[in-house]
Subunit: 105 residues, 2 copies
Amino acid sequence: MAEQYTELELAINTLVENFHSASPTKVGTLTAQEFQSMISKELPTMVKTAGDQEGLNKLLTDMNVEDGKGVTFKDFWLLIDSLATAHFGLLSKEKQVKCVKCSLM
Amino acid sequence: MAEQYTELELAINTLVENFHSASPTKVGTLTAQEFQSMISKELPTMVKTAGDQEGLNKLLTDMNVEDGKGVTFKDFWLLIDSLATAHFGLLSKEKQVKCVKCSLM
């Protein structure tokens, strides 16, 4: 395809395809094990707690996934949302600090 | 830094930094013009309608941004959410079609 995608468009694609390819059997839903495997492999820096069963259970509870239910794309997106919002908050904080410094100089 | 990020982690970073770097003056909020400029440059394939004023206004209305208000990261994230969900829906549909084909063969 001749079409050129931007970095931002490719990033959206990466997020969607990561979830999609982690679900070999079911359309649109991961089992807790498939989800844990994806998180451990793909989000090792951002989500450090999902490695053991206790951490995984806590994460699923935080994502409002009921016991025994699969993880939908919507659930996964809530996690991505919280990671992105936290990251944006950190960046904005750094910027604020810089701005204060600038106005003082 | 020695830390290695995965493709998924870099994708989250790209989404956040694109919005962040599009706001040179205000912390956390883009003007409609800054937003339009970012969308035209970074989402030309996924959002084709924001090029003129009418298209931009419609997009901002769809994102529930009030007239004259800036675009926050939360607003931007709603747009990314809808693009990702639509893209995921397309992928799942393709998969379903393939699955039906498989079971027929």
